[in-house]
């Protein structure tokens, strides 16, 4: 109960002080002719990382083709290059290759000692240009994705977020990133090849690099783009369903010990003037309900948390309640009361300062390693935040006022979808 009294005390403070500026090294864009590169450089970096974005994400998956974006990516990393599967060849050369499928893209991440990164990007270019879509490779890729999907299904938070996304998005962007065992089984070699042919175009690729830029790296990134055919990149509609005022509830049962609740809201895109205010709300809804602790509470111990999902367009905000830590019905009720109250008056100066600092700290903590920085640089830039996109996002946060927070709470937090992940009945 003390937690909820804490939330009430927070609301009583509703009534702005400037915070000092935190800034990443200034990022810049380079036109490499065949492709674009955005970089944040450090001449002394021992390790560098490159994210290679291809506009071949979930939003381009055909109807009944869920999982094909991931299956193509998985096959690419398994394509033989230099005598081994690409991912293994990169690892044996002292680097890593991973990929992530999100709503708008699939992004491949390569990391290595700075002086070796160009060679590994060139190796990747070979695999990307001539992927192995043979039946054995697809079978192995499918098996790997299905295993990861099974693990995903055991995590109640992931399941809840996915339930909300599926309900919220009117396009394929809301489908599971890795597909499902059933959908993957239906995908044939020709489906995989067709998706690749339709989406892996020169104009669909751009890169972001954090670390040391070398002439060899520029050349290797050009090679990545040159290896793909020229041709039009078809625009896709980015649409979400309007969330009804009736607050729809979706229920699923899983092998979990306690119920989890995920409440999903629409949210502004990163290039919106409301972006900073939504970061503040994410921080506020994450922390306002949490019990006090002298040290920062780890994810497993948290009772409530929030994630601002700006990787898909339109963006969304999800707030989760861990039923093993707190009464979920009470938590949900409190959450909705706070969401409503935030829309009725501007946040006071002291809570605004506190939650802006917390939001900035959260943002910075989530964007420290090379992979995350390179991802954010590319993702924000592609969503209209300019070349120095991470700093632009921080600027948006700094400019946020109490009135902004009220407006954004009013515009976005009054309609929601509730996803309930409940234990299976014994």
């Amino acid at each position: 109960m003390r937690t909820w009294l804490g939330a009430a005390a927070l609301l009583a403070l509703l009534g702005a002080a400037p915070t000092p500026a935190a800034r990443y090294p200034t990022a810049f864009a380079t036109d490499l002719g065949v492709t674009k590169l955005i970089a944040e450089t450090d001449a002394d970096a021992a390790i560098s990382g490159a994210q290679i974005f291809v506009a071949a994400g979930l939003d381009r998956e055909p109807k009944n083709g869920n999982g094909v974006a991931a299956l193509v990516a998985e096959c690419i990393t398994r394509t033989p290059v230099a005598g081994a599967a690409l991912r293994d060849a990169v690892a044996a050369s002292g680097g890593t290759l991973t990929y992530t499928v999100d709503g708008r893209s699939v992004h491949y991440y390569l990391e290595a000692r700075s002086e070796h990164l160009d060679a590994l990007v060139a190796m990747f270019a070979q695999g990307l240009a001539a992927p192995d879509f043979s039946a054995p490779t697809i079978a192995l890729a499918r098996q790997s994705l299905a295993a990861r999907e099974t693990a995903f299904e055991t995590n109640p938070l992931s399941v809840g977020i996915q339930m909300f996304r599926r309900s919220y998005y009117a396009t394929s962007a809301g489908q599971p990133a890795l597909g499902s065992t059933a959908s993957l089984a239906l995908l044939s070699s020709s489906d995989v090849a067709a998706f690749y042919r339709a989406n892996y175009k020169r104009g669909a690729v751009f890169s972001s690099v954090v670390g040391k830029l070398t002439p060899g790296l520029d050349e290797a990134l050009k090679q990545v783009a040159r290896g793909l055919p020229d041709g039009p990149v078809i625009a896709v509609a980015e649409r979400a369903r309007a969330i009804p005022a009736s607050a729809p509830r979706i229920v699923a049962h899983r092998d979990v010990s306690a119920p989890w609740i995920v409440v999903g809201f629409a949210a502004p895109a990163p290039n919106s003037r409301d972006f900073g205010a939504m970061l503040v709300l994410e921080s506020l809804l994450s922390d306002a309900f949490e019990r006090s602790s002298a040290t920062t509470i780890g994810f497993l111990e948290r009772s409530v948390g929030a994630f601002y999902l700006y990787d898909s367009t339109p963006a969304s905000l999800v707030v989760y309640v861990n039923g093993s830590q707190v009464d979920p019905a009470l938590a949900l009720r409190e959450l909705l009361i706070v969401s409503h109250s935030l829309s009725t008056r501007p946040l006071g100066a002291e809570p605004l300062r506190h939650f802006k600092a917390a939001a900035e700290g959260q943002f910075l903590s989530d964007s420290v390693n090379l992979s995350d920085r390179a991802y954010l640089l590319g993702a924000f830039s592609s969503q209209g935040l300019g070349d120095d996109s991470i700093n632009a996002a921080l600027g948006s946060l700094e400019r946020t006022t109490g009135g902004d927070v009220q407006r954004v709470a009013k515009n976005y937090l009054q309609r929601y979808i509730v996803a309930l992940v409940l234990p299976r009945q014994q």
């Binding site: 000692r113 693990a151 954090v210 040290t295 920062t296 700290g361 420290v368």
Partner: protein
């Protein structure tokens, strides 16, 4: 807050030295950790390491102490180090806020990690707040304040943490392996202590522990990230209380007879471990790190890949824990009904490294190992952990972060050969390991039947 606590805090505060000396460049008595790393002594004793780096505008501010997790007294009190560190963070000083609130107010995160013979208090904060947090952290932990409220809150939080960690297979197996390998000393006991152990620790014992352990003279202050080299001048001065020496490492007692251990747990888990070289034997210790990386690196270790292919849902973790003396090679695996089969794959991996590797494969694995080392040092927290750990364990210039890939660690890695690695593996892995098996408690009906 009761009167005695107030007086204690006040007395400690009065002895604080007013201003800390800025860290100075490395000199003959200080290790050389690289051209960009400043090493110095704190005004009344203790070490300060500042490692500025470009990149994210984030700083890690850490305090490391040599302190046994079970306390300094003859009777072990498992969990007292964790409780004491938490109590200091939770206690409200006479002036200002508790440390935890100070860190969260600037958007930072505060964490405490306890090892068998050391304690680390770490804050990750926006870099522009680094000076203020250096000041707050050193104020709190160079003149620890203990209030009854802070103690109560800390006890509740540490008990909860202990409860949660009792469901973590890695923690349970590691604690059990260490308990088998060491017959006495702090490494014999779980670092967090069980909730019932924590409940028995008194405020007076905890305060006494904090006063002895949390001294500037016993501290290593590490600041890493986008910070000014002079950031450490914000450190509080500490208590010039006459005892200017840091604590000595505990002297572990290595068990002579190892018996397999079986415990009840929520799922089937296995693990085992061997005593390995101490930190002073840098070549053997580096060889053990290489072996752990080669076999168990996530995603592409030799054993990891086989496990991922055959048992993709399985848990597999293996590492060499570099300690003052001795170190420990440790592995844990879990795959429900497949756990025995996982053991076979792990056994095969350890058998494989006892044979000299093919030179080309070795060269490739070594290159990958060196990349992994650098990759694991890319954030301010990783770099600060690295300097803090190796300084506390007594070999600061052997830290992989010291002098980058031109430092002692990387030179030692370059000196490894297939034959040497195989010889080190044989030397340590030919002996019987400490084996731990966790298995689900039989259902009541099965229990009755077996009775």
């Amino acid at each position: 807050m009761n009167l005695s606590v107030r007086l204690r805090a006040s007395v400690l505060g009065a002895f604080l030295v007013a201003a800390a000396l800025p860290a100075r460049a490395a000199t003959a008595d200080l290790p050389d950790l690289g051209p960009n790393v400043t090493v110095g002594r704190l005004p009344v004793g203790g070490t300060v390491i500042v490692s500025p780096a470009q990149g994210a505008p984030v700083a890690a501010v850490e305090l490391w102490y040599r302190a046994p997790s079970t306390g300094f007294g003859p009777k072990p009190e498992p969990g007292i180090a964790r409780l004491a560190a938490q109590m200091v963070a939770a206690s409200k000083p006479i002036v200002g806020d508790p440390l935890g609130k100070t860190v969260s107010d600037v958007g930072g995160r505060l964490g405490i990690t306890v090892y068998g013979d050391s304690v680390a208090i770490s804050a990750v904060v926006p870099a522009i707040q680094a000076r203020s947090i250096v000041k707050a952290l050193t104020r709190a932990y160079f003149a620890p304040v203990a209030t009854e409220d802070g103690f109560r809150e800390a006890a509740r939080e540490v008990e909860q943490e202990s409860q949660i960690s009792s469901f973590d297979p890695e923690t349970v197996v590691r604690d059990a392996v260490f308990s088998e390998l060491f017959s006495a000393g702090p490494q014999h006991f779980p670092t967090l202590g069980a909730p019932k152990d924590i409940a028995q620790i008194s405020l007076d014992d905890t305060k006494a522990f904090a006063t002895r352990a949390f001294r500037s003279q016993n501290a290593t202050l590490v600041v890493s990230g986008a910070v000014d080299p002079g950031v450490a001048s914000a450190a509080a001065g500490g208590r010039p209380d006459g005892d200017s020496s840091p604590e000595a490492p505990s002297e572990p007692e290595i068990a002579s007879d190892l018996e397999p251990v079986t415990k009840n747990f929520v799922e089937s888990v296995g693990g085992y471990g061997w005593i390995g070289p101490g930190i002073a034997d840098t070549r053997e210790a580096t060889a053990m790190d290489f072996i752990a990386d080669y076999l168990f690196r996530s995603d592409d270790g030799y054993v990891t890949r086989q496990v991922l292919q055959k048992y993709p849902q399985a848990l597999l973790l293996g590492q060499f824990i570099t300690l003052h003396d001795p170190g420990v090679m440790f592995v844990v695996y879990s795959g429900r009904d497949d756990t025995p089969a996982l053991r076979t794959l792990v056994d095969d991996g350890f058998a494989r490294v006892q044979q000299a590797m093919d030179p080309a494969a070795f060269s490739s694995a070594l290159e990958a190992f060196k990349y992994h080392l650098l990759s694991d040092l890319q954030t301010p927290t990783e770099m600060a952990d690295n300097f803090g750990w190796y300084n506390v364990e007594g070999a600061p210039d052997y830290a992989p972060g010291a002098n980058g890939d031109g430092g002692i660690y990387f030179k030692t890695a370059d000196s490894l050969t297939p034959d040497f690695v195989a010889a080190v593996a044989k030397k340590y892995f030919a002996k019987a390991p400490a084996v731990v098996t966790l298995r689900p408690e039989p259902a009541p009906a099965q229990k009755a039947k077996s009775q």
